[in-house]
């Protein structure tokens, strides 16, 4: 799968492989501790993606904003 920044593809693939393995082998089995190796790759990957987003004028603030689990989250219409 492509990345928003072409230059980030390799980092993305390395990170995704690391994360998918950790997620299946550790996280889903109740070991909710961050993997140091994955975290290091993630830092490099994130930095690349943020640069790409900036160059495409996509607002980082909007991207990183929390909506799920907050009062900003959409609610179903009233059943009246």
């Amino acid at each position: 799968m492509n990345s928003v920044g072409e230059e980030c593809i390799e980092l993305k693939q390395t990170y995704d492989s690391c994360f998918n393995k950790w997620f299946a082998d550790k996280f889903l089995k109740g070991l909710a501790e961050e993997d140091k190796d994955c975290s290091n790759i993630f830092t490099a990957y994130q930095s690349c993606v943020k640069k790409a987003l900036k160059s495409q004028n996509i607002s980082l603030a909007e991207v990183e904003k929390d909506v799920l689990g907050t009062s900003e989250e959409n609610q179903p219409p009233n059943s009246s």
Binding site: V4, F23, E64, E73, P77
Partner: protein
């Protein structure tokens, strides 16, 4: 504002669906998804909180193309995975073109009450447009497109899950099978493979079967 509510069953376990979420792209139904990146990921307590940014093509009817130049739209998917509760929640919204239309979708995946080896996806969506003069038409277009896409989304996700977790439970080693000749074993494996392919095809063709409860909001 148009609201939609529905649910569908995915014949894979909750753990498989949770893994599949991160690996669903690309699939034969996702040619409109151009890129996918994780931008935030952290563990809060025992939950995994993530945010992904996706770029999708913005497919519109001809009259829309006259209003909007942008061919692609950015979408943020927030998610929380709770392995203790076995609940995965995604909240997706567009961050580009919000002045034209906002499309928000919340999906909660949990083990199916029908069968603990299956997963139920409970979906809610809100489509809104405040554009003067065209708001209503845009909302109508938006909700129709959304409903059509649920089927494609489910097909695509199921395809990805089949690829990650191929069904091989048809051929079971019985205590007597080691007495089978090589030819007999080959024949059994061929039959099992045929069954697997048949099941994969059935799963891919399964319709979402949503329960519609679309409500039309009052025009603002």
């Amino acid at each position: 504002m148009k609201f939609y509510e529905g649910s569908s069953t995915i014949k894979f376990s909750w753990e498989q669906v949770a893994q599949g979420l991160w690996q669903r792209y690309p699939n034969p139904e996702s040619s409109h998804v151009l890129s996918e990146d994780t931008v935030v990921r952290k563990i809060i307590g025992h939950q995994l909180h993530s945010k992904r940014i996706l770029t999708k093509t913005n497919r519109m009817p001809k009259w829309g193309e006259r209003l909007i130049n942008a061919r692609n739209v950015s979408i943020i998917e927030e998610s929380i995975v709770d392995p203790e509760k076995k609940e995965l929640c995604t909240y997706t919204r567009n961050v580009g073109l919000t002045k034209v239309m906002t499309c928000v979708e919340k999906v909660i995946y949990k083990p199916s009450p029908e069968n603990p080896q299956w997963t139920v996806a409970e979906r809610k969506a809100w489509i809104d447009s405040k554009i003067f003069g065209f708001g209503y038409a845009i909302q109508k277009f938006g909700i129709e497109r959304y409903k059509k896409n649920i089927h494609k989304t489910t097909l695509g996700f199921t395809y990805a899950l089949n690829r990650l977790f191929p069904v091989v439970d048809n051929y079971v080693e019985t205590p007597n099978s080691h007495h089978l000749t090589l030819e007999e074993r080959k024949q059994r494996l061929k039959e099992a493979a045929r069954e697997t392919a048949k099941r994969a095809k059935e799963l891919a063709q399964e319709k979402a079967g949503p329960i519609y409860a679309a409500c039309e909001g009052v025009k603002s």
